[in-house]
Every structure is written in C-alpha cells, then in structure tokens.
C-alpha cells in the first residue's frame, strides 16, 4: 500500500506532521477499498467522458 505521508512530503506539503495523520488515515482506508474495485474493471471499459447527456444531444 502507498506511504501517503511520504508522498505528501515529496510533494512539498505545508501540513504539520500531526496533520499528516489526518491525511494518511482516510487515504489508507480509501485505497484498500478502491484496489478491490479496480479488480472488477473490464479491460475495454472506457472512462466516463460525457457523464449523463448522450453525446448526440450536446
């Protein structure tokens, strides 16, 4: 899993160390769930690029 605190430091975060816990904790939980979901992606699935409105109606 990702070391979010280290990533934040490398990106030049302005947060204090104790605030970085609040950054990392939720991201760890989010990443765990997201990695499971990614496994269900079919190779041919394209990203959404027009949200709701069919392209022909724009």
């Amino acid at each position: 899993m990702t070391d979010w605190k280290q990533m934040a430091r490398m990106r030049g975060t302005k947060l204090r160390e104790e605030e970085l816990d609040k950054v990392a904790g939720p991201l760890e939980a989010l990443e765990k769930r997201f990695r499971e979901l990614e496994k269900g992606l079919a190779l041919e699935t394209e990203p959404v690029n027009f949200y709701v409105v069919p392209e022909g109606e724009r």
Binding site: L15, V23, L37, L41, Y51, V52
Partner: protein
C-alpha cells in the same frame, strides 16, 4: 404569504407589493441573522432596486412569471457582478466578480429580487457549514446544531423564512443535506440541466446547482426559470426543458416506485427510519404500488465518488497551493489528500463510474423513482466530528454523505423532502431519486406526498 406561489398570487391581485415582500424579508434577516449567521452579505440597495422595478413592471402590465418580484438569495459560491463573492474562504475574502453566474442572470431575468449571499462551508467542501473564517451557520431548529452543508446558509435562510428561495450547489449532498437538516425542500437537478457558468467550482464533474425552498412546487418554479442550455458551460445539455410545476392535484398512479432493499436503510437512527418508512407507506397508498429493488453497490459508488472529488477539487484549487495555510484545517486536509491521488486511480475511478452508472441505470428500467433517506441521522451538534448510530461511532462527514454522495457520481436528479422529525425534534428528509432528466416525475411525486403531509408548514422555534 409563505411560499413563492402564494406570494405570486398576492402580487398579482395587488394584495401586496414586491417592496412589501422585500421589506418583510430584510426585516427578518435583520432580526434573525445575528443568531443564525445564514447570510454573509446582505444587499438591501440591490433588493430595493429590484423590487421597485418589479412593482413598476407589474403596474405597467409586464409580468415575467412566477418569480417576478420574489425575494431570493444566492449561495456565496455564485458569482455576482459587483457584489463580493467569498466562497466562504479567506482566499476570496475581497473577491468582487466581474461576471454574473448564469443562474443569477436567469433569476434576474425572471424578475427575482436579490436579498444577498448566503453563508456556506468553506469552498463548499464539507457538510457542517462550521466556517473557521466567518463563524458557524446555526440551524433554526436548534441553535447548537449544524444546518448541514455545504449550502448551510441557504437551508437556514429558507427555514427561518428569510428568503423564499436560496440557491445551493451540490457536489456530494450539499443541497440535500441542509434541506433535510433544516426542514426544507432541496432539489439537485440532473447534471447538465442547470448551467454551472459563473459558479466557483469545487469539482468539474460532480457539481450541480439547484434551489432550496419551503415547498416542492416552489422548487419546480425555480427550476423552470433556470433550466436550459448555456453555451458558456460545456457540460450544459441542449435537451428541451420540460414543464416541471406539478398540477394542483397530482395523479401519481402511473409512477412506479422503488425502495432499495440494500444499503440505504442500513445503520439509520431508528427515528429517521420510522419517518421515511411512514412516507413510503403513504407513497404506496398514493401511487398504487411500491416495489422493493436491489440497487448496485452504493458503498462502491461512494468510494469512486470520493476518489473523483478529491482529485478534481485539488486540481481546481492547485493554483492556490501557496496559500493553503489560509484555508481552514478540515478543508486543507482534504485538498492535501486530493493532491496525492495518482492519475491512474483518477482514470480508473472514471472507468468504474461508467460501469456503475450502466448498472444503476438498469434499475430505472424497472421503476421510475427510488425513495430513500437523505441522511442516517438528524442534524448533529456544532463542533462534533463523529456521530454514534446504533452504537457504532462514525465520522460525521462520511456518515452524513453516505446516502447522497453516489447520486452525484450518477448525475441523476434527486430531491430532499421534509418527512418528519427525530426524537430530539430535528427535521428528517426523504430522498426521491429519478432517472436522468426525470425532474418532472421527481417533483410530481414530491408534491403529491407533500400535499398529504405538509411538514413544511411547521416553523422552527429557534430554541437554543
């Protein structure tokens, strides 16, 4: 005169003038705003000018429609030309836009009177409206309670009868949550139905604009005035605008109503469950049948929504990175999280979004509408970061958004409708979800239920 439709009738029969309506609203703002902090900026000079013009036009036989002469407010995320627009942040503390939002333009063209700008969660990024720079917005139903967010000032203003309508923006529940917590109607239209032009973006693909009002028909009147194509918003739909205002007596028997059997009724305050279930029973009587349906994994939808929101919000705010220390602690942490989301994760979130949208839209082949709670609890106390539901402690923000966030990923219309009160007297909202561009059905069902229940008529006592 409590609603837009009542006020409109009184204006047209010359029982009241727009100036009198405006005087009453400005008087209520002067009296209540020191306690509620619902408005960040009040614009009496603009309001008097708008009202004077509205009255002169009506006297000359010019009638711009149901919003003509009606006093309204805009959340402080809508740019107002020549009027400070703070977005609830010190970053924009002195920001005076040179443009007007499309919504502001359309409301003005419909004859509405602008009272001012409502308070909000900083940068529209949160659900409490407990703002570190401009103070907390307080809930008229309990001054120690949050009004919800991010459009908390709009919810408080409408609930306290300080405006007939206040606009909100909704990226993960920011119209529906304050509507539920403040006993108002809150309508989030389909993505693309209402122009986002001139609204400070929190996010690019999840932001929606819509009204908070006392009644469903008032929300419909407002949507009618602001819906439609706008070339300045690249996500704006060219689809024709339907007639939204429900009939005086709605016959909803054609509507196929669904109630999710999974996710939406898990981990609710029992009083919320009871209030929503009573409304669903009523729907069964009014609409003929209510079908239990299984919906796709909403927790997964919420996860995808959070990845998209974190990444897009931080992209929108990256230009202010050097000034992040001017942002409140809760929002600063979220922006920092978003800066760390890898591009591959964001793209895969948008791929999962397509997959989940297709799965969810299949539900709307069986039913026209889904009925769910808006939030698992009533309004929490100001300053509380967690909430206990069924003995389990949850993060307040994540708990409050878990029934509403996924809807923004889908882009479908959703409305919060008052449906009762919890054990502590805090309002409870029911959510009505429709298929894309199905606002007319959402509003018709809401009006039919509202006509039978009338929860909107109860006024807050504003007890501490």
């Amino acid at each position: 005169v409590r609603t837009i439709l009542e006020a409109g009738e009184a204006l047209r029969t010359r029982k009241v003038s727009s100036a009198e309506l405006t005087r009453e609203m400005l008087g209520r703002i002067e009296k209540e705003n020191p306690r509620l902090n619902a408005f960040l900026t009040v614009t009496p000079e603009r309001a008097w000018a708008d009202a004077s013009r509205a009255d002169a036009e009506l006297a000359a036989g010019v009638d711009r429609g149901p919003l003509h002469g009606i006093p309204i407010a805009l959340k402080d995320v809508f740019c107002t030309k020549g009027i400070r627009t703070t977005v609830g942040s010190r970053l924009f503390g002195e920001h005076v836009p040179e443009v007007e939002s499309a919504v502001g333009e359309r409301l003005a063209a419909a004859g509405a009177v602008l009272l001012g700008k409502t308070h909000m969660h900083e940068l529209a990024y949160g659900v409490t409206s407990n703002n570190p720079h401009y103070g907390p917005v307080r809930n008229p139903w309990g001054l120690d309670r949050v009004p919800g967010g991010s459009s908390g000032g709009s919810g408080a203003a409408v609930a306290a009868r300080m405006a007939y309508m206040a606009m909100g923006s909704d990226t993960g529940g920011s119209i529906r949550v304050p509507a539920a917590f403040c006993n108002t109607v809150g309508l989030k239209p389909t993505h693309g139905r209402v122009s986002r032009y001139g609204v400070m973006p929190l996010d690019f693909t999840l932001d929606h604009m819509g009204p908070l009002t006392l009644t469903v028909r008032d929300a419909a009147v407002c949507l009618q005035a602001m819906a439609g194509a706008d070339e300045r918003d690249q996500t704006s739909s060219r689809r024709a605008v339907e007639a939204y205002v429900p009939a005086e007596r709605v016959d909803g028997r054609r509507l196929r109503i669904g109630v999710p059997e999974n996710h939406y009724f898990d981990r609710l305050d029992p009083a919320v469950a009871k209030a929503v279930e009573a409304m669903i029973d009523l729907a069964g009587k009014l609409f003929g049948s209510v079908e239990k349906v299984r919906v796709p994994d909403v927790e997964a939808l919420n996860t995808v929504g959070r990845v998209i929101l974190l990444a897009e919000a931080s992209a929108a705010m990256e230009r202010y990175f050097e000034r992040f220390d001017e942002i409140g602690a809760d929002v600063r942490v979220l922006l920092e999280q978003g800066r760390l989301i890898p591009a591959a994760d964001y793209i895969n979130a948008q791929r999962l979004r397509r997959q989940m949208r297709d799965e969810f839209f299949a539900v709307f082949e069986r039913v026209d509408l889904l009925l769910t709670p808006v939030t698992p609890t009533g309004a929490g106390r100001i300053g509380e970061a967690t909430v206990k539901i069924g003995g389990v402690e949850e993060d307040f923000r994540l708990a409050t958004t878990r029934l509403v966030r996924g809807v923004n990923v889908l882009g479908i219309p959703a409305m919060s409708l008052p449906c009762g009160f919890d054990g502590e007297g805090m309002p409870v909202g029911m959510q009505i979800l429709g298929r894309a561009f199905g606002e007319a059905d959402v509003l018709a069902a809401g009006a039919a239920l509202e006509d039978e229940t009338g929860y909107w008529e109860r006024e807050p006592g504003m007890a501490s």
